[in-house]
Amino acid sequence: MTEEHAKNHLWGRRDWLTALGWTAIAGALLAGTAAFGRLLFRRAPIEPPTQFRAGRPADYAAGTVSDRFVKTWRVFIVHENSQLYAILGKCTHLGCTPRWYRRENKFKCPCHGSGFDTAGVNFEGPAPRPLERARVWLDDAGELWVDVGQRYARENWGQPGAHVRVSAARERA
């Protein structure tokens, strides 16, 4: 490029090509990074099934907490005040699974010591809220079903799916 040419043109051919080259490289890197970021989130999240059959209401004696579905479904079935409800075994502090201690009549979280009563209400330790409940219902054959995909925080415990009346179940059966 001659001196004169450079004087008359703010951007010479080389400047354009250089800018184009670097833009292409930067663009490719950016696109690659963005694509990788998106790749880390699946199109269809893999989620395990959420509904299971939990036997007959009569399997749960009044005033008891059953932990027979904790290993498989992370759910405690509680029969109290002629209601059956399913407490989600997921501590509202940071998500560990509390255990049921029959003698002390409470749920206790092994991670940082939160305690919950039979209704799942927190009364000690760092947990900020009561344990959530999973949806429960009786099918036409009178069997108890639980759906851990639908959850009820304390404000919603009055809603129909948050518990089943056990006396009503007896009548149907």
Partner: protein, 266 residues
């Protein structure tokens, strides 16, 4: 082998480009002409050798990194990162593989030591004021290295797939869900619009809870991604130590100035 008389001489000269007589020039050449040694400065100031000044902490941190790299690669020969195999592989490493227990414990102790030494190194740099100009940039590089060390430790924690590992990562990733703007339970989540499926916790776990996807993700981060990034930053860190004038020294005193000396701070 009675080759041509000059043969072995030629082999020798092809490897070493300098003589070995103990002269200052040859000593410098040994450093500058060797790829494995060239990170060392050809000359070191006296104060840079004082253990009471550096505590040797940066070098020991690096040594621990090398220990975890070597033993970690050894563990990779037997460890499979799936929920069905991870725990049993760890147990087999300990009880069935010759020296497996030794390698695993070297890796674990090396990792713990690295975390501790990196913190002590930072403390030393702070106490000796070595973050001051012209070394501010290298302090910044060091902060990144500290973060990477913690991330290496965190991702390695899940791999044994025992109860401690799974619940610790459950707790840790639930804490990540409370990160401002990036976690769905954190402040500002409405602003950024992140949900349970798109926040930083989901990014780490690759699924709704700690499971196979999370184990694989942590494994790749732990064994490939983070060590590569950390190595890159270490290269910059060491290079910068040299470019900033070698290890820092005590600041110039009034008597230094009177005597026309520059002091150590460069």
């Amino acid at each position: 082998m009675s080759a041509r008389p000059g043969f072995w001489r030629q082999v020798y000269d092809s490897v070493f480009r300098h003589k070995f007589g103990d002269t200052p020039r040859n000593r410098m050449l040994q450093i500058t002409s060797n790829v494995f040694l060239h990170l060392h400065p050809a000359t070191v100031r006296r104060h840079g050798l004082r253990l009471r000044y550096t505590w040797g902490m940066g070098g020991l941190s690096f040594l621990m990194f090398l220990v975890t790299v070597v033993t970690g690669v050894v563990l990779m020969f037997y460890y499979r990162p799936t929920a069905a195999t991870a725990y049993i592989d760890m147990k087999n490493l300990q009880h069935e593989i010759p020296f497996g227990m030794f390698q695993r414990n070297m890796h674990r102790w090396g990792a713990h030591a690295m975390v501790i030494l990196v913190w002590l190194h930072m403390l030393r740099v702070f106490l000796s004021g070595s973050y001051k100009p012209p070394r501010e940039f290298n302090w910044g590089v060091g902060v990144v290295l500290l973060t990477l060390t913690m991330l290496l430790s965190f991702t390695g924690y899940l791999l044994p797939w025992d109860q401690l590992a799974r619940w610790a990562i459950t707790v840790g990733t639930n804490m990540a869900a409370a990160t401002p703007f990036l976690g769905h339970q954190g402040p500002g989540a409405q602003l950024t619009g992140v949900t349970e499926r798109t926040d930083v916790r989901a990014l780490l776990l690759g699924g709704p809870q700690v499971g196979d996807a999370a184990l694989l993700r942590f494994y790749v981060l732990h064994c490939v991604f983070l060590p590569l990034i950390a190595s890159t930053f270490m290269i910059v860190h060491f290079w910068r130590v040299r470019k900033d004038g070698g290890i820092s020294g005590p600041p110039a005193t009034d008597s230094d100035a009177a005597a026309g000396r520059s002091g150590g701070q460069s």
